[in-house]
């Protein structure tokens, strides 16, 4: 029998002292995560300042921030496991109440097994890295930075087993999962030589019973990944900015502005929220960062206006992927590079399709505003002026980000650090809504928990991507298409379905690098204009992000709005249908993409 609970075992014997030790450890854990987050904001800012002032950046700033992203992802995931905030498909509520306890224990056991397996795989990676002797910056060994992965996976394994039940026997049964995982890790042949089906069925069943999603995806891939790539660092920073802004009165001040200017329109706030989300997504690259950064603020605004909660959640989840087709969204740039087509042409081609999707969503918002009888208010110049003035600091924020990026001062990561730094200064010193000693530690911990829950899913999703690449699934799927499909229409239809699935499973950067090069020759074979293909590609991925059961934005929304995945999925259905109509128009009416291009003679 295993002893899964190094942290809590003494709690049974000597509760008071153990609880004190545990509390101390937990505070240490919280502080570490907070320090990592603060460093992630401070380093890029220091880098920008020193680069401009002395022409020399902070040594190793880029790689350090990249590795801090790794740390915040895994420390945050361990925190999320501690707080029972690892994201899961909450279907267990559908079970008869007598079964729920058993379901939780079984799911806990599976999650513990997968966590320890992933930790074991991570340990191998760290050991190999140690032998290779690489350093990432300032002479710090890469393996030391990566050691956080196996350690936190082990902690997560222990915690999911411990949290699976409130009594000892249940915890012990869940703890058996750890033993099982260790055995599998020691004898990987047990997995390799047999059919994958029983394993997959087990993973799916456990997921249905409430196993956390990272374990579901990680278990399906059973393969390692690494969080890599600098743009990812923008996620924690924009998120932190969002958390800071959500403290205090920022949302009220912004809402007042929205109302003053758009209150006379039906669904005014809903329209404004869709526009702001699209605008923000253009800059964040659309990996759902917008939901994290602005979700709470926008939700409060809609709620105060009297919109139904379900409508609001759906609107915000859907709006978060708007904007990817408008310049200078990173996915367009990346697609142009990978597919070898003109990026300017993609910018021009994506313009009308991008506006179409925004228009559809805004129209839906207006309809809801009218139907729900949301009160309108007449435009009052004096009130508008006052509202603008009171929200000047908040309104300045997007301007600061824009100037930073388009003035050539900052990269995306740096812009996200500016956002977080700006939000901090504004909330602490200008509005005094946040006290550094009283509130900041709490805000940092909350942000870390949420980030951990999200980034660990992204990390294992990258593992799944690398498994799919390795198994050549995209290549084989496309070969299959090429041999069986011969009409352009049938190809486009299949393309829609295929990309929808891709959008569900992969983040936009992996999807572009992996799938786009395969599609380009196919598109040519079926006589689809390369720019049109690119716009279809991104529009479909946009849709994939909000498609149940595994669209990334659904996870993020579930987190941000504290809903179950099922609730979010139901809320998003109407907007999903509306956007699907838009994507169909984009796909089957090429003129929408190509018209502007031919007008401009390109």
């Amino acid at each position: 029998m295993t002893q899964p609970d190094t942290e809590a075992r003494p709690a049974v014997r000597r509760p008071s002292r153990a609880a004190a030790v545990l509390g101390f450890l937990h505070r240490g854990e919280d502080s570490l995560a907070g320090v990592v987050l603060v460093a992630m904001v401070a380093l890029p800012l220091a880098e920008m300042v020193t680069r401009r002032a002395f022409g020399v950046g902070v040594p190793g700033s880029g790689p350090v921030v990249q590795h801090l992203t790794l740390w915040i992802a895994f420390l945050g995931a361990a925190l999320a496991a501690r707080e029972r905030r690892l994201l899961a498909v909450a279907t267990a509520e559908l079970l008869p109440s007598g079964w729920r306890r058993g379901a939780r224990i079984a799911a806990g056991a599976c999650a513990a097994a997968v966590s320890i397996l992933l930790g074991r795989a991570a340990l191998d990676l760290v050991l190999i890295e140690r032998d290779a002797g690489g350093t990432f910056a300032l002479g710090i060994a890469t393996w030391i930075a990566q050691a956080v992965i196996p350690v936190t996976f082990a902690a997560i394994a222990v915690r999911v087993a411990w949290r699976a039940d409130d009594a000892w026997p249940g915890r012990a049964i869940a703890g058996l999962g750890i033993v099982f995982g260790l055995v599998l890790g020691q004898f990987p042949g047990l997995l390799e030589t047999r059919s994958a089906w029983p394993w997959l069925v087990l993973v799916i069943a456990a997921t249905a019973l409430g196993m956390p999603l990272f374990a579901a995806i990680g278990g399906a891939a059973a393969l390692l990944f690494l969080i890599d790539g600098v743009p990812l660092a923008a996620i924690p920073l924009f998120t932190l900015a969002g958390f800071l802004l959500a403290e205090g009165q920022a949302s009220q001040r912004l809402l007042r502005v929205f109302r003053a200017f758009f209150g006379s329109l039906p669904g005014g706030t809903a329209v404004v929220v869709a526009l702001i989300f699209a605008f923000f997504t253009v800059f964040t690259g659309g990996s759902g960062v917008t939901i994290l950064a602005l979700g709470a603020l926008a939700y409060q605004a809609l709620e105060a206006d009297g919109y139904r909660s379900r409508f609001s959640v759906g609107l915000l989840t859907g709006s978060a992927s708007l904007g990817l087709l408008l310049p200078p969204a990173l996915p367009l740039i990346l697609y142009g590079i990978v597919a070898g087509v003109s990026i300017e042409d993609l910018f021009i081609g994506g313009f009308l399709p991008g506006l179409l999707l925004i228009g559809l969503v805004a129209g839906w918002g207006m309809r809801e505003g009218r139907r729900a009888g949301i009160p309108r208010q007449a435009f009052e110049p004096r009130e508008a002026g006052k509202a603008l003035w009171s929200a000047k600091w908040e309104l300045l924020l997007p301007l600061v980000v824009l100037v930073a990026i388009f003035g050539g001062f900052a990269t995306l990561v740096e812009a996200s650090a500016i956002t977080a730094g700006y939000a901090f200064l504004m909330q602490v010193f200008v509005h005094r809504d946040v006290s550094v000693r009283r509130d900041l530690p709490r805000v940092l911990t909350h942000a870390a928990v949420l980030l951990g829950g999200v980034l660990i899913i992204l990390a294992v999703a990258m593992g799944l991507t690398s498994y799919l690449v390795d198994a050549r699934v995209p290549t084989l799927a496309l070969e299959w298409v090429q041999t069986r499909v011969d009409s352009k229409l049938a190809f486009l239809l299949l393309l829609n379905v295929f990309l929808l699935i891709v959008g569900c499973l992969m983040d936009i950067f992996s999807a572009t690098v992996v799938v786009a090069p395969l599609l380009v020759p196919l598109g040519l074979a079926f006589d689809i204009h390369p720019i049109h293909l690119g716009i279809i590609f991104i529009a479909n991925l946009e849709l994939g992000y909000m498609t149940p059961p595994v669209g990334l934005n659904l996870f993020l929304a579930a987190y941000r709005f504290d809903r179950t995945l099922g609730e979010v999925a139901r809320s998003v259905l109407p907007i999903l249908l509306i956007m699907a109509i838009g994507v169909a128009l984009i796909t089957y009416v090429p003129a929408m993409t190509l018209g502007l291009l031919s007008l401009l003679g390109r």
């Binding site: 040594p59 050539g408 690449v469």
Partner: protein, 310 residues
């Protein structure tokens, strides 16, 4: 089905010269091994960038990779010798030095658990800029992006009054558009295929450094190849590698012509400014070599160069 599958990852995009040569090598490996060995390609960075590929080889997920100096130097710093700016002056010089250094580099790779299959060559890195460059001060006045440069490299460039900027590769296009960088060191093939030349339309004649690479295989993977086929596979790989030397320069000329046809101008250093340019170039090259290349490798490379130039 093949007895042994060798998974090979590369950043070279689908359809590029480099990828075509690898594809032909895959066909040839099947032929010379009578179908016992399958070389399976994962091009276009689907397995990540160079450091990722090296990591995945160490983990055993891939057995081989066609790497650029960026990844090779992660395995052994000796390969930084090919990154020394303004060190080599022609492709003939370069390949003569490679011939002399090969035993040493091969042994260093072996020590790290890798086998050299062949050399790859991606063309010559040139300066592309928003404002034309005819003397050193023209370059000093423009913020310069450098591929894969680390802090040590940046410091060396700065010491010569230049303004190098290190960014993630994904930031390049946006940085060019926003003016965060105004000049770029890259190959004509990359400038064309990634469309950077539209934003930095001045090409400086006379390159900075070659873009060298090599296909390497893990020792573990190599030992798993059928005994009877190893020699033939190696010979086939060497033969494939020799094509780079003729095919890449041809493709490079075509790329340059294509860009010229679309508004690229080619400038060169003015005669009056040449002395200053050369002095700084020589100083930068030796500082760089001393700082980033293991001593005995740099010394051997210098000796070989002198031999060739004599």
């Amino acid at each position: 089905p093949a007895q042994t599958v060798v998974k090979l990852a590369t950043l070279a995009p689908d359809g590029s010269v480099w990828h075509r040569i690898l594809e032909d090598q895959a066909v040839d490996w099947r032929r010379v091994s009578s179908g016992r060995v399958e070389l399976r390609l994962y091009p276009g960075g689907v397995a990540g960038d160079d450091p990722d590929m090296v990591r995945k080889m160490r983990l055993g997920q891939f057995q081989a990779a066609a790497l650029s100096v960026e990844g090779l130097s992660d395995i052994d710093e000796a390969f930084n010798v090919f990154q020394i700016p303004l060190f080599f002056q022609s492709i003939d010089e370069l390949f003569y030095v490679i011939e002399q250094l090969e035993p040493m580099l091969r042994a260093r790779l072996e020590e790290k658990g890798f086998v050299l299959l062949n050399w790859g060559y991606g063309g010559w890195v040139h300066l592309y800029s928003k404002q034309p460059i005819t003397e050193l001060s023209d370059l000093r006045g423009q913020k310069l992006f450098m591929w894969g440069a680390d802090d040590r490299q940046l410091r060396l460039w700065r010491a010569h009054g230049l303004q190098p900027v290190a960014l993630a590769a994904t930031d390049i296009m946006m940085a060019l558009q926003t003016g965060m960088i105004e000049a770029l060191a890259t190959t004509p093939l990359a400038a064309l295929s990634l469309q950077w030349y539209r934003l930095v339309p001045h090409h400086l004649d006379g390159g900075l450094a070659p873009l060298m690479g090599a296909t390497v295989m893990t020792r573990r993977g190599f030992d798993r190849l059928p005994d009877q086929d190893r020699e033939a596979l190696l010979a086939s790989a060497t033969e494939a590698g020799e094509r780079f030397r003729t095919e890449v320069p041809e493709a490079e000329d075509r790329a340059l012509d294509a860009m010229r046809g679309r508004g690229l101008t080619v400038t060169s250093i003015a005669q009056s400014a040449e002395a200053e340019w050369r002095t700084n170039a020589a100083a930068l090259a030796s500082e760089y070599g001393e700082a980033l290349v293991p001593t005995e490798v740099f010394a051997a490379a210098r000796r070989a160069l002198e031999e060739f130039r004599r």
